[in-house]
Every structure is written in structure tokens, then in C-alpha cells.
Amino acid sequence: MHWSRRALFGVVLAAGLAAPAAQAFPHIEAALAVEPSVASVGMTVNVTLSITNTGGDPMTLVNPFLSITAGDNLVSIVSNPWQSASAYLGPGIALSYTWTLIVLAQGTVNLTGWAAGYVNGNPTSFTSTAILVIPGPSSPPIRILNNRLRPGKTATVVLHGSPGKAVTLVVHDQAGRPLGPIGLGAVGLDAAGNGSFRFDGTVAGNRLATGVYWIVASGAVSAKAPVMVTK
């Protein structure tokens, strides 16, 4: 079953323009991911909703939904996930659904995905959110999403600078001392000057201690932004 964009928003409108609240079934989790999470106009991105059942109760009649809660005019859905009429999420099973979007304009797109179905005969749903950043000429050169970094989480460093050139990110402590680079080296920005890094709070394999650090970009982007690392 294919979901057209019109049909999708019909479902969302029927639900009151908000994703249904998830009920307490902690063994079932939803996760929404955007790849890439920073894109340029004209690019296509994949939005994937993953539903994982790690418990004993199956979820039946699973249906995926995607809502663009902000930035609806910045993207267009070009393909929807294939969906069987009655998906079954048994114990130990994971399902994933992917939408493909094309980027139309600069800005920020907030996405909410959820899976609705039945657990133990009760209607329920599981929700997750994600962001798609489309920097433009007026975008800040550096921006950090999830800038209070807890263990097991990652921050996204969103960059905007000279198109096609490389950027290196180095973590500095508050004394100005460089602690080491993020990633394996320089990464090139795309043709629109956009790029992103993932930062998990480690430098050269060492987890940083609790504190505030500066992430400093050099090369195609010359800027810095603070991030707080929490143990």
C-alpha cells in the first residue's frame, strides 16, 4: 500500500494535526532518522521510521505515518514506504519504513513519524521526531544540535560555508587547548556549502569529562560553538 502525500495529511488532519500519544508499552520503540540530516536544495533525503519490539507482546495491524510539523513548504514527498495491509510486529522483530523527500528550499523541517496499531487488543501508537536542516546563505556558519551531550547520545554539528571546500573540526577545552579532531579528518561541504558532522563526546577514543568545550571549525568554515558534555 502506498501513501500519497495527500492521503498522509488526510490521516494527520483526522488525528487533529498531532501524532497520537503513545501508550505504556516500553518494549516497543519508534525511531525516526533522516539521512542526510543536513541537505541542500535539489537533493533527495530518506526519512526512515523504525519500529522495534523487544518484548513479548506483538503489535498487529501496524501502519506508519509521517507528518511534517514545520517547514512543509521546504520539501516534497516523492515516494512513500511500501506497506502490507496488515503488518505484524512480533517479539524480537523490527520493521522499517522509508519515505523519500526532495528538498525545495532553505530552512528547517521538523518531522514526526509514528506507527499505529494494536497491542493486546488496545489501539496504540509509537512516535519519534527528527529534523532536516537545509542551510542557506543566511545560515550561521556553525550550529550544534543536541548541544547538551549525554552519554550514548550524539550531537550534530551543522556547517555552512564555501561550497565544495573542506572543513576540519577540532575540540578545544576552555583553556583554548586543542584536544583533538572530530572524525577522521577533513570533510568536504556540498555544492551548496552545507555539511554536517556527528559528535559523540569522544576525542581520539577518550570520552570527554563533564564540562563545556568549544567545537572549532577551520577551512571552508571559520567559526566556533560551545557544547556541554555530561557524564
Binding site: L145, A175, T210, V216, S218, A223
Partner: protein, 326 residues
Amino acid sequence: MGRPFAALLLFVLTAGSAAAGTGMAAAGIPLSARQQASGGIYGDPDVLGVAANPAQLSTQLRRLEVGVVDQYLFGSAENVLGLGIGGVTGSADAWAWGAAAVVSQVSTRGFRIVDEIGDETGERVEPVARRADLAVSCQRGRLAGGIAFGAAAESYGSLGDGGGSGPSMIQAAAGMLVAFDTWHAGAAIRLGLSDTPRGAGGADSVNLGGAADAGGLRLTGSLVVPLAGPAGPDAQAGVRWMVSGAFDLRAAYATAFTKGVGAAAGSSVRAGVSFRSDKGMGMDYTLVVPLEGGLGVTNLIGARWTFGDRSRRTPPQLQRQPQFGS
């Protein structure tokens, strides 16, 4: 004696209390404006440098020295204030003793927390770190030694889930300095005494360096080696030119490495100027310019007041420090 100690303790504890780690701003920021443009702490002894090597205190040229510093780091995104006072005896022929107290505060421009999708959570991080050090030293002839104890604490503002209280720590330092006619050298070690995890903040470290006079210049080199965390060695080299009795010029180069990474992680060039009056007052200005873009420059301005003559008690080379009021 009890009240000053309680005041120092209160100064530190008002920044934070929970022991959690050593990624602390106050633990690793050098204070002296003069030393940051001189090639490290061994170019010019300074009361603000005694937390790094307390043996410097015994080489103080006059009986009493008061120093203040105001640093603007990262293009003024961060501010460091430091105040130090040190006194040394000069009456005994065999031994000279000294004691000093240094307090400092690091405050970083606050920033709003955003979540994974870029929404503000309503929380704002307001980092403040404070540190207080007490140092004692002794000198006999060409050899000086000293120990220091410091307490540091950090806080991050009113954050949810108790995240506003940052780490705190107790640290000790021991150092020595030896001075001859045309050169002096020293080394020190700083170790955390509290049971917090040792790591990235540069809390535990060894520093060593020296300075030599040649051709009217003072050449200084120093090396700081962190004992834990991702930071690697930090090396500095500098030169000081005493243009006249009233002012001198300084220039230095610094480079830092990361453990496990072959290339230097970052480098900077530094320039400074120091002025002195015949009333025992001095002013220092230093500019630190990173060679990699994006970090922003650091400006430091310091002032010193010195009182009492004891230059005859210092080793020969250190007497060629800028002479206040002489």
C-alpha cells in the same frame, strides 16, 4: 588566618559542589599575561604562576607582589579574572621563605540548549568555574622549591535533572627551580587529590622548562605534559627583549598535540608588551592569535604592584628580571 581560608573556600564552593570529573576550566587556564607571551611559565616568575610551579614564589624580586589579570578568550566569548598576592622573606641569609594565595574565575558566555531537532529546551548553560590556590616556597642559594594546594569547582547554571552542579576537585602541586648566572630551569607536577575521575581537563600534568639570557634577549622554552585525557603535550618557545628599563617586548609560539594523533592539533603565535614604573607598578598586555581559523583571538591584560626591596636575595640570572623601582 581562619577567615581568609574560609573566604577562599566559600569563593570556590559557590561555583559548584558535586564531584564528577575533571573537565574543568579553572584547572587548566594559565593566568599570567607576561608568561603567556614569554614561552611559558619559566620566562618570568610571576605570583599568578605559582599554581603551576610554586617554586617561582621564592624568586619574587621584592618582598610583596600583587598581581591581577583579565583575559578575554575566544574572541571575548570567555573571561578569566585572576588575583594573586605573594610575600617572601628576605632577612635570613641562609633561607628565604614565601607564601601566596591566588584566586581565579572563568566565566563563559551562556548559551541555550537545543535538542536533537533544534528546538530550544528552555535551559541555558551559564558556565562558571572558580579556583583558589595556596602556595608556600623556600629558597636557599640557587635552588628553590615549593608546594601548592588548590580547590576548584564548576557550575553550569540552572539546569534540569541536577545538571547545573559541575565537578569539583582538590589539587596539589610541587615544583623546583634552579638558577645560575645566565640560565634557570624548573619542573613541577600537579596531581588531583580528590577521588573524581582524572581526565580531559588537564588536571594532572607535568611541566618543565627554562630560560637563558643571550645577546640582550631572554629565550624561554617550556613543555606541559598532561598525564590523563585526550590532550597531548603543549610546547611553547618565546623570546623577551628588554628594550629599556621601562618596557620590554615579547613574542612566543605555542603548539599542542593530541594523544594518538601525529600532527599538531593547534598552534598559536603570541605577542606582548610590558611596562614598568619606578613606583613598583607594572602593566602587561598579550595577544594570542591561533594559526587555525575559527577559534578567535585571546587578549590578556595584567597589572602588578610590588613593594619592598629584596633583589639581593635572588639568584644572579633572576636579578635581570625587570627591576621595579630600581
